[in-house]
Amino acid sequence: MVDPARRHPFDAGTMLIVPAVLLLALVFVAPLLWFFAKALASQGGPAQIVAYVATIVTSKAVVSALILTNWTALLVTGLVLLISYPLAYTLANSRGMRFTLVLFCVVVPYFTSIIVRTYSWMVLLGRNGIVNQALIQLGLIDTPLTLLYSMTGVLIGMVYVLLPYMVLTLYATMRSIDPGLMRAARGLGAGGFYAFRRIYLPLSIHGVLSGSLIVFILALGFFITPALMGGPSDVMIAMLVERSVEIMYDWSAAAVMSLVLLVATLVLYGVYYRTTDVRRMMGA
């Protein structure tokens, strides 16, 4: 079946995306390619480039940064999911004032500068920060906890920054679940937990997958929060790229590491695209 309105390859719809495509090509794709080509060409011919890439990718610093980056992203994704699921559920099943309040709390940080939010956490979590002082005053601890400049700090900061992405993704999925289904499950003899496990969880699992992928992808390339809140050993791949350029002036190494990060992101994005496509096919 040929839709006459869609036959021409350059119809109005196609023309509308041309500016966006041009912009992306000019300010993102072209500089990126130029950067990769220039940085790698300085190493010599194709054989030398392959050898160089292999050295960088297998170097101790890059391998440990990659492991740490993936591990951190995984932890962050898990924690964000744990916090977001009940929050999104509340949001999807609230109306009026409660809905507005929860949405406000989730969305407002989303529009606030990431640096402002990270510094706020530093004030809260520092050695003499509000959290430690409160805990000491309450007599729960004797010596301040190392919340800042550690993995704990990185996790707290990243979880906080990435929370809205997960909440909003889950919310969109949960909103489309017919509340009558849970009611039907209860009415047909299922207890609360059984109904959740058999009905609600499977119906919201696409949101869980999409949200987790988004958060994981964003966490992989995180720079500001780990740089400000992490300890000296908490070096993630994006920080390593920055150090190569800023401190070592090693543009070639930075290019290789960026490439690794870019490829990983694109692969995950491909997975994300497929899962959301499947969701549309399911009509959920």
């Binding site: 017919d178 039907a184 209860r186 009415g187 047909l188």
Partner: protein
């Protein structure tokens, strides 16, 4: 246990002054009813009459503000919905979209932790009953509305509940399919001997399926009875208007005697009608008579307006006629602003009075009722 009782013995529901208050509004107001085991009982009323809220309270989805609900003698008001053990069919079917037909129907059994072999046997039986054996591995999006409805019914009866609650289950189907499903639901209900509490706003549906109907209005039950009793002897003007076509002639009550009373209508018209209650003389009332109980003839003969013996007679001018297939419908003005509808069975013969002509109307006193208000 040797003797098997004839007919169902479980599934009696008693509503005792069941009330639901939202804010200041009594959405359901002191509803009492006794639903017998194996009975097909409908709650019929316009939207906002409280019928769905009443059903939701029986189901356990809505908390009861006052009163109690007894099932086989035990108060279930404090029991959560999943432990009430009712089968349920919902308005939009509520088929689980991620489970196939088999798993949908198996859901109540799995929730009750039955053995796999037992589940297969029961689901197969339920699917056979609704004639969906060949659709076990389909998903709801691959089914028609009628098929989804059948899945919902199979799921509601698969665990052999003694009571099944149905909330406007046929609302989304087109007219022909709806009638067919009414017959099927009724058949299944009779075969399994279960009590069905059925909510609908469709009077034809309620009449077609129910053993008894409760007509609801403004959160209260206006009348409970067999369809034929409610149709022939409505207890109020609301019921008369709501169930079927009705002529309601306004007037004031005159003398009452021997179970009938006189009604004085506009323009000096006087009629007699049955009067089951003993209404106050001089009070406002309506005379009720069904359009098909009124006889119409061309007013060639000398006809007098009178309330004589067992027959009411009057005359009027035909305003409009319409042909509805099985009946000819006439709209006749018997006094300024007082119009009556008269239905004549289409039996193929006879000439009907035409618009503008004078016509003579008559109906038996026994076919009309005086209603208060």
């Amino acid at each position: 246990m040797t003797a098997v009782e004839p007919g169902p013995s479980r599934g009696a529901i008693e509503l005792r002054g069941v009330t639901k208050v939202y804010g200041n509004e009594r959405v359901v107001d002191a509803v009492s009813a006794l639903i017998r085991p194996g009975e097909f009982f409908s709650l019929l009323g316009p939207s906002g009459s409280g019928k769905t809220t009443t059903l939701s309270m029986i189901a356990g989805f809505v908390a009861v503000s006052e009163g109690s609900i007894l099932v086989d003698g035990a108060d279930i008001v404090a029991v959560p919905p999943q432990r009430r053990g009712f089968g349920m069919v919902f308005q939009n079917y509520a088929i689980f979209p991620h489970l196939d037909v088999f798993e949908n129907v198996a859901f109540p059994l799995r929730a009750r932790k039955l053995a796999e072999a037992k589940i297969r046997e029961r689901v197969a039986g339920a699917l056979e009953l609704v004639r969906l054996e060949r659709f076990a591995d389909r998903f709801s999006r691959e089914l028609s509305g009628g098929q989804q409805q059948r899945v919902a019914i199979a799921r509601a009866i698969v665990f052999q509940p003694s009571v099944v609650l149905m909330d406007e289950p046929l609302g989304a189907l087109d007219k022909n399919l709806r009638y067919q499903m009414q017959v099927e639901i009724k058949e299944i209900q009779q075969r399994l001997g279960m009590t069905v509490v059925y909510v609908t706003h469709d009077q034809e549906e309620a009449m077609n399926m129910s053993d008894r109907i409760a007509i609801m209005n403004g959160g209260r039950i206006e009348q409970v009875g067999r369809p034929v009793d409610i149709y022939e002897s409505p207890a109020s003007v609301f019921v008369a208007r709501f169930l079927g076509e009705a002529n309601l002639i306004e007037g004031t009550l005159g003398a009452a005697s021997g179970g009938s009373a006189e009604l004085q209508a506009a323009n000096g018209l006087r009629f007699r009608a049955r009067s089951p209650s003993a209404p106050a003389r001089g009070g406002a009332a309506h005379l009720f008579v069904r359009p098909e109980r009124v006889t119409i003839a061309r007013a060639d003969a000398q006809v007098q307006t009178q309330a004589d013996g067992a027959l009411n007679q009057t005359r009027g001018r035909v305003v409009q006629t319409s042909f509805l297939g099985n009946i000819h419908r006439h709209l006749v003005e018997i006094a300024p602003g007082v119009r009556m509808t008269v239905d004549v069975q289409n039996s193929g013969g006879g000439s009907m009075p035409q618009p503008g002509e004078e016509a003579a109307l008559s109906w038996r006193v026994a076919d009309s009722v005086v209603l208060d208000g």
